[in-house]
Symmetry: C2
Subunit: 646 residues, 2 copies
């Protein structure tokens, strides 16, 4: 309800300690930064909507007059079909596949860089305000589990060792744990891949099945239904596996027995992030980069299990499907997992505990009489589970916002909407649903910062590939500058399609009713760059294919290096520490030193004056007077450094 | 003479101060790191020498039996020539163009990353040993020039201002200077390009002239002579311009009127580096990436000024020429500039001053009588010009070692040899030739570190391009896996050559004596991927060209990302601060705090005991007792942070 107000960060810090304070501050900065991103995203999207009608390729695809007969999408049952029948998808895909998206992905890469810098500054500011500037991690105490393991080990080798030389776990002791970790993670990732593959099989088979039954008219709807269901399956799997992987990561880290709590947390986070990242993005990567790439060609299709043909992308390009996939997974994940789970589960647990309490209270009445203490009431709340899940969810979301933004410019907007709610829900949860956590001091957000940087770097490369390989941006340019005779996009669609002589169908793969379109088909078209049937080496990959491929790769190189350079530049021109803060700090130091010096001097004088009176006491302050006098006699700078050394 | 000994860094620091100490330390680390690099480089080179005889492509080129008739290298005067006549260059180029160089450039990229990390650690160690750990830059005082400018400005606007609010130079005041800088730098870079272009023209024209005169037999030597002379011209120009640019950079920085000495130095270094870098590397870049790329094809050559044909690379590929260029410029620069100038000039100046002194001394005898003071003698030495030139020379050398190492694996070795002498020469110069510089404290090597990082990053990309575009590595792979029928390299040379029908020569470009080779030539070959004369669209760029191009670009992407990832990994696994040092620092802090606490306590007790005796004095120590008691009662951590805050 108060989403428009700023967060009371200082109060949060007072009540929950620096660590949680930093989390909310970070969340605030992130949400704030999302505002410009989502505005630009919406503009880009609107640009797509506006230009959809003067987009020549989609117009050509929709145009009934140049009736292009496409080759069947499946063996036997499917027949030839008209290009114009897939007009809708073509038009829709233009919304996300237009020059503006290229600009937008550059923009988002720079946005990410700016965000990191902005956070660094904010963090510095907070460090100063919460005076953490000089604060350093104390030497962390080893965890109980670690101590236990060490003890057990030292017991195992039968001899008493002096307290002085501490037994520690060597590489030899840890090896089995590390090995288990490695195998476990590999296995988990394999599992994820397997599941994604399963979903693909499902999609192919159901598509075939539906194609069998459905009327020609309803065939166009098949694709949509199949895609949607498949994505939903993906979503469910992802959400379930997320929970599972969370537990597994914890278990793996525990058998690893890290020395300190800090390293425990870092290892846990790293594993959990790796697993959840793979889990969340594998299906998206498949759609973006692999789907429809290994289809083969009419008359020589690629089959898996010798029965299912590899699935193709819609004629409008894979970008459309990628977009659907992204939006469903992102929105679904946010709505179901983050908000529903985060709020629902604690509430439920609370309810259960409350009921349990009720029942037992009915047994003992005298206790029921007296008013309960606050802490007794709070005891009924959920224990605090750490910030990891909160951060994790945000980082994964950050991934959705940056990694594939080229294909889905509305992502920042959805993220923004989610976060505006998220902040307050988290706050509410922390205050009312959970026991008050132990306040922990922290200077920064730790390993999460590095993970963010990593995601940011990855985003540049992935966007480069999405634009050049998933979208039709490059083929259009190539056509425009290499082939188009009148300098317009007219004939682009025709250029991207290769011809196939229906007489070359292998046995049993030709469609059952070739006459479905009402006329006999000799040449059908398919989306690929191959030699026509009448060339001497027919159906071989054509020169155009290589030209386009080269252009795509060249674009990747240019894009990646350009964007990386620009974000390094942003990184360089924005100073990490705000000028005013650094000046403040410096001034304070000098001031403090002065005060301190005065104090010392005063004390020393006193001691000197009294030394004559009392010799014995005089002795015992003599032996540290040299140190004092040193700290006096030194110039400002020298005693300055002296105190810092302390 | 003592090159095998370690440097006495600590003594250097004692005598010259931290800043120069750090320079020598850095130079030491760099030289040390060069040892493994040069060893691997030599091994790679030897591998090249060893495999030159079983290298099929060069064998095929040298083989007389498959007599390939090449198209003339220039119009009219040049005639057709036999491939086998350029056997030598082909064999030579294999020395630098073999799979091992690919490995080596990966190795060097990682080497650079390791070097940076290694230096960071060393620096940390030195900081600890020279206790700079707590040392921070004092607020630097504005330079006199700046003050003057400010004063003048405040005078210009006629009104008196209070001391409190300081006048400062705004963007508006600086704009003209910045503009001049920008224009100046652009102009300088343009100048460099112009000169390089001039040298190209020279090369082309002389080549043509020599071709006219020389006998057919001597024609092969033409290329070598021309290349050599051209490179030497380049070298001379570079060395002269280096001096010029140094002065210009200084001048540009002075008119910019930076506020502090630090920023002055940084701006100066940045400009000087930019100019000298462009100056040193432009000719190399030309040979590496542009030479022989825009030749056109027989019958349709590209001409500059309508008279000179663009120059081609030797049949062995441009890599050979790149290698010659690199070695001559690198060695020449090092020998002439670094050692001769650095030692010669000061000596000469010293001599001149000495002579002058002699003459004036002959005039006044009484002064001549008494023994001169040390400082009077030293006054005759050169004044200290700052470390910038020393660093600059080393960074440029670092560039030679990393940027084009793919084409010249011996670079590290030469660098090493140079540095072993360099260290001692610098030391000697600093001790004997120059006045003792004012000792300056410094925590690190400042902007140089960033420049090194930048060069390292650039190196990855450039090496990727050198391997994929300058060397024949990729075409060979493509041939091996796409075209070769028996899986060997046989026929590779033939595959890289396109055919040209001599009847298609344009008027007046056909050779004058076509019968020079003793038989009539119908089809001549040239190094390019184009359609043969008998295809319907003859002399057009062929499919192979695009395929190879795509492969090359793909290689660049893979190489760049792989190497960048690996060096980030190296960066990540090597901790910046050595473990022992960090522990030491932490321990010391705790210790100091303890000592300090005791002291405080002791004093406080005394004061307490005496408070009763003397009331008046008691008062004045009462009012800081609260602070003290706070620092006592606090736990270790709290008072620790208290002292750090100081």
């Amino acid at each position: 309800s108060v989403f428009y107000k700023y967060q009371p960060i200082d109060l949060v810090r007072k009540y929950f300690g620096e660590k949680i304070g930093l989390y909310f501050a970070w969340l605030g900065v992130y949400t704030q930064m999302l505002i410009p991103a989502s505005i630009v995203g919406v503009i880009v999207f609107l640009y797509g909507c506006a230009t959809v009608d003067e987009n020549i390729p989609s117009m050509e695809m929709c145009d009934e007059r140049n009736n292009i007969t496409m080759c069947p999408l499946c063996d036997n049952t499917c027949s030839y079909w008209k290009m114009s029948s897939s007009c809708a998808t073509a038009r829709a895909s233009h919304l996300f596949d237009n020059p503006a998206t290229v600009f937008f992905s550059v923009f988002m890469a720079l946005w990410a860089a700016t965000f990191m810098e902005h956070w660094k500054r904010k963090q510095m500011r907070l460090n100063y305000r919460w005076d953490l500037t000089g604060f350093e991690e104390e030497e962390a105490h080893p965890r109980a589990e670690y101590e236990a393991k060490v003890l057990e080990k030292s017991v195992r080798k039968e001899y008493i060792r002096k307290k002085t030389d501490k037994e520690k776990l060597t590489w030899k002791d840890r090896f089995p744990a590390y090995f288990t970790n490695f195998v476990g993670i590999i296995f988990m990732i394999g599992l994820t891949f397997a599941i994604v593959f399963g979903v693909i099989i499902y999609r192919i088979s159901t598509a075939a099945a539906l194609a069998l039954s459905s009327t020609p008219s309803g065939r166009s709807s098949v694709r949509v239904t199949v895609t949607a269901t498949a994505v939903i399956i993906n979503l469910v799997v992802i959400i379930i596996l997320d929970e599972v992987y969370g537990c597994i990561a914890r278990w793996l880290t525990e058998i690893e027995v890290p020395k300190t709590d800090k390293s425990f947390e870092e290892r846990l986070i790293f594993k959990a992030f790796l697993l959840k990242f793979v889990n969340a993005y594998t299906p998206i990567f498949y759609v973006a980069f692999f789907k429809g790439r290994f289809v083969g060609r009419p008359g020589d299709y690629v089959y898996i299990f010798h029965s299912f043909r590899m699935e193709e992308c819609a004629p409008g390009g894979c970008l459309m499907e990628l977009c659907i996939q992204l939006s469903i997974i992102m929105l679904g994940k946010q709505l179901i997992q983050n908000n529903l789970f985060e709020i629902g589960i604690p509430k439920m647990k609370k309810l259960i505990r409350y009921i349990k309490l009720k029942r037992q209270r009915s047994l003992d009445h005298e206790e029921h009489m007296k008013k309960k203490q606050r802490y007794e009431v709070d005891y009924n709340l959920e224990p605090f589970a750490g910030l990891t899940p909160e951060y994790m969810e945000m980082i994964i979301q950050f991934g959705f916002v940056t990694l594939f933004v080229a294909s889905f410019p509305l992502a920042p907007l959805f993220a923004l909407l989610n976060n505006i709610i998220e902040i307050r829900l988290d706050a509410k949860k922390f205050v009312t649903e959970l026991r008050r956590p132990v306040a922990v001091r922290a200077k920064d957000i730790g390993i999460w910062y590095n993970i963010l940087r990593g995601v940011g770097k990855l985003a540049v490369i992935i966007n480069a590939f999405v634009i050049s390989f998933t979208s039709d941006f490059i083929p259009r340019l190539v056509y425009l500058y290499m082939y188009s005779e009148n300098g317009t996009m007219h004939g682009f669609v025709n250029h991207t399609l290769s011809s196939f002589n229906v007489s070359d169908f292998q046995g049993g793969t030709a469609p059952n009713d070739p006459m479905e379109l009402g006329y006999e088909v000799r040449i059908c078209r398919y989306k690929d760059y191959r030699e026509p049937p009448w060339s001497e080496n027919k159906y071989e990959i054509s020169k155009d294919f290589w030209a386009v491929l080269a252009a795509r790769l060249a674009f990747v190189i240019v894009f990646q290096n350009l964007v990386m350079f620009m974000s390094d530049f942003v990184d360089w021109i924005i100073p990490d520490i705000p000028k005013d803060i650094s000046q403040q700090i410096h001034k304070e130091k000098v001031l403090m030193v002065e005060v301190f010096m005065k104090e010392e001097q005063g004390k020393l004088q006193m001691l000197e004056t009294w030394k004559v009176k009392d010799m014995k006491k005089g002795e015992n302050c003599n032996n540290h007077s040299p140190k004092l006098s040193r700290s006096q006699s030194g110039s400002m700078s020298s005693c300055h450094s002296y105190h810092i050394d302390v």
